[in-house]
Structures are given as C-alpha cells and as structure tokens.
C-alpha cells in the first residue's frame, strides 16, 4: 500500500517539477522516486498480509513480488529515455508521471481482491499507455498506434466489464474469494451459463491486455508505432502485471470451473505460441519481431496458467513469477539496445544491427545475452523460466502441450539468432560504421541487465520458491 501512496503522491510532485522547465532534473528524480518505492515495497515482504478498503486490496507476498518486478523493470528502463531529456519539445514530466501513475494501476492489478479493483487497475494502466503510445505526436504511425490501441483497448475493457457484471449476476459477488465459494457451490448450478459467459468475457478482456491470441492483432502495429521506450514498458510491465492478475483471478475465483477454462486457455495458448513464433520469423523489423516475440511469451506464460495448482504459490505461481522476471529483464535490455541503435541510425530493421559488435561491443554483448535469454538457452534466466513453467505443466500431465511449446521455442531460436548473426557475423552497412553514442549511465544499466540475466541463469535458486 505504501508503494501505491508513494507513487501517486510523488507522481504529482514529479508533474509539478515540469514547471521548472529543466528536463535534466527529471530523470534523476524519477529514478529516486522509483528506488524509494522499490524499497518501500520490499519492506512489506516480511510483514503479514495487509488488507485495505474493506479488503478490496491485499498486500501479500504475491503482490509484493510482482510489484517488485514492475518497479524494477521501470527503474532499469528509465535511463533509456535520455534522448527525451535532451529534447526540449518532449513533455518529460508528463511522460514520467504517466509511467508512475500506470505503475499504480499495475500494483492494483497484482493486489486486487475485488474485481472492481482489477478493473480500475487495468484502466489506470491502460489509459496511461494509450496516451504514451501517441506521445510522438509528429509521427503518423505513433498517432495510428495510439488510436488503434485506444479503440481496441476500450472494447476489451468494455467486454471485461460486461464479464465482471455477468459473473456478479451469477454469483452475487465481486470479491474473488466469494466468487470462488459461489462457483464451487453445487446449489448454483443453474447459474452456470451466465457464469461461463461472464468468465469467457473476462478471459477475452485480460487476454487482450497480455496480447494473447486471438486477441493479439493490435500488438505488432501498436509496438511499431509506439516510441520504443514506451513499447518496452508495454511489453514488460503490462504483461507481468497482466499475468499476475490473470493467475490470481483463475486461482482464487474460478478453481471450481477449471474444467471449463483450462481447455479454453490451452486452445488460446497453442494459438498464441503458433502465431507469436511463426509471425516473428517473417518480420524484417527488429521491433516487430520483438512484438511478435512478446506475443509468443504470453503463450509460454499461459502454460503456467494451465499448470495451476489452486494456490498462489507452488510450481505454477513461482514459474510465472520467475518467467516474468527473466523475460522483463531481457526485454528491457533488448529494447534498450534497439532504442539506442534506432535513435542514431534511424532504422529498426535487422540491417541496423549489422556489424554492431565491431563498433559497440558492449551493446552487441548485452543484446546477445538478451536474445539468448528470450530464446531460452542455458546460462541465462530465460532458460530456467521456460524450465520451471514446462516442469510445472509436465507435473500436471500436459506433456503434449509442453512438446508443442518446445517445438515452438525451436522456431524461436531461429529469429532470436538473427540479431546475433547481424551484430557479430555481418559487416556494417556503409552508413553505420560510426559507433553508437552510449551514456555512462546507460552503459552501467545495460551491464546490470546483462549481469542480472546471467545471475538468473546461473543461480536461479535465489528466485525460485519465493512465493
């Protein structure tokens, strides 16, 4: 709860700092705010779970852990906004404040007990993202992205809200624990059609937010148009918070209806893996590849939902936590490098990366670590992320699904190696022999990201079994 209060208050303070007309101050201030929030959140780890607003929000280990991921991701992402610091036209204070406010939404999504809080959290997060997607206002693509994201997102939240209403109609409750009891109660069997339609609509609404197929269509276009910095935020924070909320919803409200939703999620999962991985192969733009890869990672995370064990701890919850952490760190690194490269070379396709190992060994190395992690190759966190999720699913007997996911991750190796090949094995383009300018601060953060990824890959034990 302290983190929500701090973020809201400090977000407003940050907004007022915008009056000073000095962008240079804003980045350090925003970083400090986030570090303070991270500390305040970590402080809650050892205290017993606390409830707020008539139990509408609960701060327990589960929410603290996922809050930790989203705040950490944002801290590590911020340094890549340095270009905006130098750009006087950019409304930096607003950008940062929107990011801080959207984190409030994310934290609500991971700590809700009441579906209304889930809805409000999703809306706080989404509305900030609609604005940020269009923040590059002189760019037509950015405008298109914002409009597309806004229209599709509004439909999705409308559907989600309708779903919540139907579930309320069927069970008479907004609290996940009460819904869980009502669903499990055989006396309510006559309400099942309404409940199932409501649940289905909620799956659609949340599925849209985490870009799971077949509700993924916005993803590539929106990522492509959204400024890289915010696209990175979208694919990490929104996804981590979305899956934490998703798991909590299924585990606490609908465990009794698992015979209904598990086949649905499996179907979505297979489709998501297929579309994400096969779609990524066909891309020529690194950013679009990352967009499709972000779809595919939603598919891997859904395996964790399928493997659910009726508790917010154990193999599946820990698997989703570890995967979200490893995925977020690697994705921030990949987008960070891409942003630095595309800012200077004005291109986002693979050729922009050609010969990068010659001119910027550090950038190439960090990008390689990120790609290996996303591909799930040992020595990186991504390997253990997949390992834990697949292990949880095998434990539950979903061997066929895991085999399919393994085949899909083989496809993943193909497109994740393309940037590596471009950077290390191809000569630089004629117009791209100049080294990319990297600030010391950014370089330090990149090294931290690479080290974290390798740490997760060598000593995964630190982060397993925490929930």
């Amino acid at each position: 709860m302290t983190s929500i209060i701090l973020l809201s208050v400090l977000g407003i303070v940050n907004l007022f700092l915008g009056f000073l007309r000095s962008n240079r101050m804003l980045l350090p201030v925003a970083m400090i705010i986030l570090v303070v929030v991270f500390g305040a959140n970590a402080y809650d780890w050892n205290s017993a779970s606390q409830s707020y607003f008539n139990n509408m929000l609960t701060i327990d280990r589960y929410s603290v852990a996922f809050t930790g991921i989203v705040v950490l991701t944002t801290v590590l992402l911020l340094p890549f906004s340095q270009k905006y610091v130098r750009d006087d036209e950019a409304n930096l204070a607003e950008y940062y404040s929107l990011l801080l406010f959207s984190l409030v939404g994310a934290i609500m999504m991971v700590s809700y007990e009441n579906l209304l809080m889930l809805f409000v959290g999703i809306e706080i997060l989404s509305i900030s993202m609609y604005v940020l997607a269009g923040s590059d206002k002189r760019n037509v693509r950015s405008n298109e992205a914002a409009l597309k994201y806004f229209l599709m997102g509004s439909f999705a939240t409308g559907i989600l809200l309708f779903g919540i209403a139907l579930v309320y109609g069927a069970t008479g409750a907004f609290y996940v624990s009460q819904i869980g009891e009502a669903v499990a109660n055989p006396a309510n069997a006559s309400m099942q059609p309404m409940l199932y339609i409501g649940l289905l609509m909620m799956l659609i609404g949340v599925g849209f937010k985490v870009s799971a197929a077949p509700f993924h269509f916005w993803t590539p276009d929106v990522y492509e148009g959204t400024p890289t910095f915010f696209a990175a935020f979208m694919s990490t924070v929104v996804k981590a918070a979305g899956f934490a909320a998703f798991l909590k919803l299924l585990v606490q409200a609908f465990p009794a209806a698992q015979n209904f939703w598990i086949p649905t999620i499996i179907a979505m999962c297979v489709l998501t893996l297929l579309i994400g991985n096969v779609g990524a192969v066909a891309q020529n733009s690194v950013k679009r590849m990352l967009a499709y890869s972000s779809i595919s990672h939603a598919g891997y995370l859904m395996i964790g939902l399928v493997a659910f064990n009726g508790a917010l701890s154990g193999l599946s919850a820990n698997g989703i936590f570890f995967y979200s952490l490893a995925y977020s760190i690697a994705t921030v690194a990949a987008f960070g490098v891409l942003k630095l490269v595309s800012d200077q070379r004005q291109r986002e396709d693979y050729t922009a990366l050609n010969g990068l190992a010659r001119t910027n060994p550090l950038l190439a190395f960090v990008m390689t670590v990120a790609m290996l992690s996303l591909a799930g190759i040992p020595l990186t966190g991504g390997f253990f992320g997949k390992f834990f999720l697949f292990g949880a699913a095998i434990d539950k007997g979903y061997i066929g699904l895991v085999v399919f996911a393994v085949v899909m991750s083989m496809v993943g190796i193909y497109y994740y190696l393309r940037p590596v090949i471009a950077m290390y094995m191809r000569p630089a383009e004629a117009d791209a022999t100049e080294p990319i300018a990297v600030g010391t601060f950014q370089a330090v953060v990149l090294v931290v990201l690479a080290l974290l990824t390798v740490l997760l890959g060598i000593l995964p034990g630190i982060f397993t079994g925490v929930l």
Binding site: N318, A357, P361, L372, I377, P378, L379, F383, F384, F387, F390, G391, I394, D395, I399, V402, V403, V406, S409, M410, I413, Y414, L417, I421, Y424, M425, R426, L459, P460, G461, T464, G465
Partner: protein, 485 residues
C-alpha cells in the same frame, strides 16, 4: 573443492582476458590453460582409480526443486578431463601463427568453452549436465560464426539448430525422469544416482532411449544425424575445428556411457541393433566419402565421421572390450584428429590451399613436417604401436563379440582409412612436385611444440595403453554391472 576450481579457473581467466590485447591475450590464455592442465594432472595423481567419484562436491543449486550442484571425478571423467586440459593448451598454441582480429575475445571463448566441456565431464546431476552441455555450445557457435570462412553464417546456424534441437529432446527426457523420481511421494531429485535407481518399465525406456540418444547422436555425430558436421568442420577456424573434433565429439560418447546406458538399459537392449547398424553404416559411409574428397579438411572431417561410428559401435556392443576400446579411442582420436587438422592448417597457411590435387612434393623442403604428419597419420590408420591400434583393436574385438558380421564389416574401416589417408599423404607430401614444393618453409619452433607432445602421446598410448585402461576400468565395469541388472 579441486573440482570447483578446475571448473571455474578457465572462466575466471576468460574474464580477465578482457583486459589483455592481441599478443598478450594469447600468452595469457596459454598460461591459464597450462595451469589448468597442471591442476588436472594433480587431480589425476592424487585420486584413486576406483568406480567411486572422487573430489565430490554436492551443494544445493536450485534448493526448492531438489536440484544440486553435484560434481565429481571417476576414472572415466578423469581421462576426458585430462584429454581436454591436455588439448586446449596445444590448440591455443597452434593458433599462435594466426592473427585473429579481436584476439582477447577469441581466446576468452576458448577458455569459456573449456569450462563447459569440463563441466559436462564431471557433472553428476542431470540438469547440471544439461546446463554445461549447452554452455559448451555457445562459445563454439561464436568461434565458428565470427572467425570462420566465407559460408560460416549458414553453416554455423545449421550446426547450432541441429545440436540445440537434439539437446532439447534430452532435456524433455530428463524433465520426465526428474518427475518420475518423485512418484511415490519421494523428494524429487535430478541426481544421477536417483536416475540410476528409477524403476522404469521397458515401454517407458523404449521412447526415453531415443529422446536421450538423439542428443548424443547429433553431437558425435552418428549417421544420419551428421549432416552438419563436414560443413562446420570445414568452415570453422582451425582452433574451433580442433575443439569440435578433438573434444566436443567426445561429449556424445561420454554421454552414452554415463547417462544413456545405465539409465535406460532396457531401452538399449531393445534398440542396440538399430544403433549398431547405423554406426556401421556411418563407418562405411564416412570412409567412402572420405576417399572422394579433394579438400584436406573435408577429408579429415569424413574420416572423423567414420571413426566415431566405430566408437559408437564399441559402446553399444556392451562388452568390456568394446567400451574400453571406445575410451582409449576417444583419447587416441582426440590426439590424432587435432594433429591432422593442425597439419592441414599449417599447409593451408603456407600454400593458401587445402585442395589435395593442387599440392604435391612438399616433403622435399619440409622433412620435419612430413615425418610428424606421417606419424599422426599412421596413428589414425591404426598401425600397431600407435594409439589408434590399441583403440581399434579393442573396439573391433567388442563389435565381434556382439556380432561377427558387423565386426567384419566394421573392420573394413582400417582398410579404408589406409586408402584415403595414405593416398592423401602420397599426393600432398610425395607425388610430383607442385609450385610449392621448393619454397615451402618447414615447421617452426612453436609448431613443433604443438606436434611433439601429440606424437609423444601417440606412442605412449600405443605402447603402454594399460596406464589409461586401468584408470577407466573400474568405472566401465560398474556401468556394465548397472546395465546387466
């Protein structure tokens, strides 16, 4: 603790190498690999050669899942660790004449690879083994992909995809076995002993066998999983080729001995005929293609394919003779193939060609080169008194015990090897003079420093094989008892 030091020292040295440039990087890497070799020798001298693993370290790694960092060295591991630590300094020394751009990264990757290889040979936990198995792949991918010749991108990509897809099958099998260890409410474990003690039905073992076997078969490679091999060997820079053929290939055979046979013995007894036939096909197929090769590196690559088929046949004969033969032949092949690729590299550097028909009469101005070449070549042909003879004799003996006919066909390898290798020697070193024969320089000091230790080993293993056989015998006997349970 010695095992951990053995494992971490190369990677620590690799990190330090980042601060060295050019010449200094080479010297540092060479020094580090010598220290590592000394460490391995120390371990070899102080350990007893029993079936029990020595210098065990067993600490929790992923504690909540029952996965441990469990390493140890028994006789079988020891020989392969010795082979690795013996060859890596020579491989580094062999590259001294090349001026690789970005040398510190190049040598750092070699040392990094060494850690991966040693990790594979000493891991006693399935997931740790898999971890190092893949870790060894990453540096070789970059070594071949960055410093290789023209077609390197497609070729290394193919290599990477093949091997990683192969290993994913193994991972799937390991995850399955891991969950099997926990079926009766027991704590799940990925320890090798827990896997050995599983009571798997014949039906389970039948498919588990293939999942695990394919990973090893791709790495060795056994026919028909070999198609990445000749291209990768040809396109990689010489040190990477030596690492691939000299050491990495042994990961597959070692994997079969340590992980495949004892874990799924019933699977082996169902499928051993298929594997034997594939192996024998590989022997003949590799040899016949080798005869037709004009490129020296490709010829050696196919010869290696043929020889590894024989090693696989020896392993799957499940006889003490065949398996011991595979162990000695792993050492012998490692030494010989590294020597052959090094000599091919020397000739290419001096003449800018590896095409056999373009060469000829080199021996006139290079007596040292031709003598060393001949010795190593005869080792590969398995002339008595050389290392190849001991290995092939035992291997063929094992295959004969398994099946006379297969033994007879596999025995052709010696004739074929003599045909293609002696023909190569004749056309490159003897034969009519080419434009190179007068001007070519003989071996330099550093090149001799690489070849002399190799030649010493050719004769040492050839004359006193018992030194090595005794080290591995208890471990092999134990594996055989486990298979025959």
């Amino acid at each position: 603790m010695l095992t951990v030091l053995l494992l971490l020292f190369p990677v620590a040295a690799a990190l330090l190498l980042h601060f060295a440039k050019g010449q200094a990087a080479r010297v540092m890497a060479f020094g580090a690999s010598l220290v590592e070799f000394a460490l391995a020798i120390f371990i070899a001298v102080t350990s007893q050669h029993t079936a029990r693993a020595q210098f065990e370290v067993n600490v929790p790694w992923i504690a909540s899942a029952g996965i441990n960092f469990h390493v140890g060295i028994d006789g079988l591991s020891l020989l392969l660790v010795l082979l690795t630590t013996f060859l890596v300094p020579l491989i580094i020394l062999a590259s001294f004449r090349h001026d690789y751009p970005n040398a510190s990264a190049f040598y750092a990757l070699i040392l990094f690879m060494q850690t991966g290889l040693i990790g594979v040979f000493i891991s006693l936990d399935a997931f740790l083994f898999y971890f190092f198995w893949e870790v060894a792949l990453i540096p070789i991918y970059f070594l071949a992909g960055i410093w290789g010749s023209e077609r390197r991108i497609q070729v290394t990509f193919k290599f990477f995809l093949y091997t990683i897809i192969g290993s994913l099958f193994m991972l799937a099998a390991f995850v399955y076995l891991y969950f099997q260890t926990g079926v009766n409410g027991a704590m799940r474990s990925s320890d090798i002993i827990a896997f050995y003690n599983l009571n798997l039905s014949a039906a389970q073992q039948a498919w588990l066998f293939w999942l695990i076997f394919i990973a090893f078969a791709v790495k060795m490679p056994i026919f028909p999983f070999h198609t990445w091999q000749p291209d990768t060997y040809t396109e990689s820079p010489a040190p990477a080729t030596m690492l691939l053929s000299g050491i990495m290939l042994k990961m597959g055979i070692y994997g079969c001995l340590r992980w495949l046979l004892p874990i799924v013995p019933k699977g082996v007894s169902q499928w051993d005929k298929v594997v034997m036939i594939l192996a024998v096909i590989g022997i003949i197929y590799g040899a016949i293609i080798a005869i037709r090769q004009r490129d020296m590196k490709r010829l050696i690559a196919y010869s290696s394919l043929s020889h590894v088929g024989l090693m696989a046949a020896g392993v799957f004969s499940i006889t003490l003779m065949g398996m011991q033969g595979a162990v000695v032949q792993m050492l012998a092949h490692g030494i010989n193939v590294v020597g052959m690729f090094f000599i091919a590299d020397i000739i290419q550097r001096r003449t800018n060609t590896r095409q056999i028909p373009e060469l000829g009469g080199l021996t006139r101005s290079t007596p040292l080169l031709s003598v060393t070449f001949l010795v190593i070549l005869l080792g590969t042909v398995a002339l008595p008194l050389t290392n190849g003879f001991v290995g092939e004799f035992l291997l063929l003996g094992g295959v004969y015990q398994y099946n006379n006919w297969l033994g007879a066909v596999a025995g052709l390898t010696i004739i074929f090897a003599a045909v293609y290798l002696l023909r190569m020697f004749q056309r490159v070193m003897l034969g009519p003079d080419s434009s190179f024969s007068a001007a070519i320089r003989d071996l330099s000091g550093s090149e001799l420093a690489v070849l002399i230790p190799l030649i010493i080993m050719v004769f040492w293993i050839g004359l006193f094989p018992n030194v090595f056989l005794r080290i591995s015998e208890p471990a092999i006997l134990q594996i055989i008892t486990m298979i025959n349970r």
